[in-house]
Amino acid sequence: QDFDLSGTEVTIGTAQAQVLNIGTLRMIEILQGWGADVTRVELPTISGLEAIIADRVDVASRSSDEILIGQARGVDVVAIGAPISTMHYAIVSSPGVNEIADLDGKAIGTSGPGGFNGMLFRYILKQNGLTPEEDVAIVPVGGSSERAAAILAGQVQATVVYIDNWLALEAQGANAQLLGYVSDIVPGLSSRAVFAERAYIEENAELASAIACANLEVNHWINSSKEDFVSYTMDNVRGANEEAVSKFYDVAMQIGMFPTEPAALLDTSGYQKLADLLYDGGELDTELDASGFVDASYLEEAAGMGCGTGEMSG
C-alpha cells in the first residue's frame, strides 16, 4: 500500500543542498509524490532547532547534536529518521602531517567554542596521546569552507571539514591530504537526524511514518545505483564536481552512510555515544539518555510495510 498525504502541509528545514544532503532532497520529493505539500527551507546559520523553537519549521533534517542541545535545554525534540547515519567529517592536514601524532606542536582549526567538531577533535587528540591546548594549538575558525581555506593558506596544519567538502577540494587540486574519516577514527557516532517536537510527531503520526518510509526508500535507492545517485546529485547540487561525487559515493558505501536496516539507520547507541562524548567534553551540562528521544518505531513500522525495498516510491 501507499501513503496518501494529500492535504498534509509541512515545512521542513534542511541544511544547504550539498552532496551530503542529497538524501533529504530525495526524501522530500518522495513525500511530495505522495501528495504532501512540502515547503523546503534551506537554513544556513540558523539551526533547525532554532527554527523549530521559533515555530517556523515543523520538521528539521539537520545535525544530530542539535537534538542533544535541545534536550539539554528542555526542548523535547525527537529523532525519527536520519538522512546520514555515520559521521560525515573528514580530517584533513597539510603535507608533512601524515598522522594525528604528527600534530604535536602544530595548530588545528575547528569550529567555534561550543561547536561539536572542536570537542570531537579534542577527543581524537587525547586518544592519540596529545594534550589539546598544550601540545596542539586549537584555533576556532568559522565554517567548514573557512577552515578549508585556512589550511590552504597554511594558517593551520589540520582541520575537520565535511567529507564532500574535502572531496571537492581534492578534485580542485588542493594542496592538502586526508588524515582519515571521523567515522573510522571514532566509529559509532550518529551524524544527522530528521527530527521534530514530540507533540508534533504524535499529532502527525501518519506523516512521521511516511517520512520514515521515505528515508528507508531513499537509502535503498542510493545503495542500488551509483549512476543514479551521481546523475541525480549533478542535477541538484550547484557546482558539484562529478569526480568528487563519484568518490563521495564510494566513501559513503565504505563507511555505511546510508543503511536500509532501521536499527542501523537510526541507532540509539550512536546518539548515546554522542551525548556521552559531549558531556565528557563539557559541552553538555547534563547526562542524557538517548533512548528517550530516539524513536525508531516509525522506521520499524515502515520497514514492516515494505519500505526500504524500492517498491514504495515507484
Binding site: 532554532e50 517556523r56 567548514s144 569552507s145 590552504l152 580542485q172 588542493a174 547540487v237 550547484r238 558539484a240
Partner: protein, 251 residues
C-alpha cells in the same frame, strides 16, 4: 571646478577597466591557483555558464526584487527618521542613541530575531535589507538637514513658507541633496550587503544563495562569477543615483 564631459569620464573608465582586468588576468596566471584567485577568463567562462543555465537570471530576479522593495522601504523610513532627528531635539535624544546602536549591530546578529518575528519569508528578508540600509540613510539625511542653509530658509520663510515640514521639502531637502545622495549611495551598497545576508543567513536563495553554494563547493571561479553581478548591481544603483544627481545639480 571644471566639469569633465560624460564622454571623457566614460573613456577614462573604460581605460581603467581594461588596465584593471589585465592586471588581474596576469596576476591570476602567474599565481596559477584557481582556488585562490581565478583568472578573468575563467570567471567569464563561469559567468557564461551561469547565464546559459538560467540560474543567474532567476537568482538575480529574486534578489533585485528583494533589494528594490527593501531600499524603497529604507529610503522612506530613513527620510522620516532623519528629518525628525535633524529638526527636533526631542526626537534626537529619543531616537538617535538607539539607531546608532542598531547601526553598529551587525545585521547577522539580528538574524535570529528577524526569524522569530517575521519568519524567513519575503517580509523577513525585506526586514534584513531595511535593517542594513535604513540607518545610513537616516544618518545622511540628518547630517544634510542639520547643515542649515540659513539665508535660503529666510528667503523661503519671508515668501510664505510656513512650518518645519514645508521648509523641509521646499528648501532644506533640496539644499541638502548632495549630502543625501552621497549617503544614499552608501546605503544602497549596504542594502546589497543586507540582501546577501538575508539570502545567505536567513534562508538560502537568490544571488546570495548562489554564492554560498558555490563557495562550499570551492568553485572559486563560480563564486566570483556570482559576486560580479552583485557588485554590478551596486554600481548600477550608484550610477542611477549619480544620474539623478547630475540632473538635479545646477553647476
Amino acid at each position: 571646478m571644471k566639469k569633465r564631459s560624460k564622454a571623457q569620464v566614460r573613456r577614462d573608465q573604460i581605460v581603467g577597466l581594461v588596465i584593471f582586468l589585465s592586471v588581474w588576468e596576469i596576476a591570476a596566471r602567474l599565481l596559477g591557483n584557481k582556488l585562490v584567485l581565478p583568472s578573468v577568463s575563467q570567471i567569464l567562462a563561469a559567468l557564461g555558464d551561469l547565464i546559459a543555465s538560467g540560474e543567474l537570471i532567476t537568482a538575480m530576479a529574486e534578489s533585485i526584487w528583494l533589494l528594490i522593495v527593501g531600499l524603497i522601504v529604507s529610503t522612506i523610513l530613513g527620510f522620516v527618521l532623519g528629518a525628525l532627528v535633524a529638526r527636533s531635539r526631542t526626537a534626537y535624544w529619543m531616537l538617535n542613541p538607539y539607531f546608532s546602536a542598531l547601526f553598529a549591530t551587525p545585521t547577522i546578529a539580528l538574524v535570529p530575531l528577524v526569524l522569530v518575528w517575521f519568519g524567513f519569508g519575503f517580509p523577513g528578508r525585506v526586514i534584513v535589507v531595511v535593517l542594513a540600509a535604513v540607518v545610513p540613510i537616516m544618518f545622511s539625511v540628518a547630517s544634510g538637514l542639520r547643515d542649515d542653509p540659513k539665508d535660503l530658509v529666510d528667503v523661503a520663510r519671508s515668501f510664505g513658507v510656513t512650518g518645519e515640514l514645508q521648509l523641509l521639502y521646499r528648501v532644506r531637502v533640496r539644499a541638502a541633496l548632495p549630502v543625501l545622495l552621497a549617503g544614499l549611495r552608501l546605503a544602497a551598497g549596504r542594502g546589497v550587503v543586507g540582501m546577501a545576508v538575508a539570502e545567505t543567513y536567513l534562508r538560502l536563495g537568490g544571488i546570495g544563495g548562489l554564492i554560498k553554494s558555490y563557495g562550499s563547493m570551492f568553485q572559486t571561479d563560480y563564486v566570483f562569477a556570482s559576486i560580479l553581478p552583485l557588485s554590478l548591481l551596486g554600481i548600477a544603483i550608484v550610477s542611477v543615483i549619480g544620474r539623478i544627481e547630475r540632473r538635479l545639480h545646477w553647476t
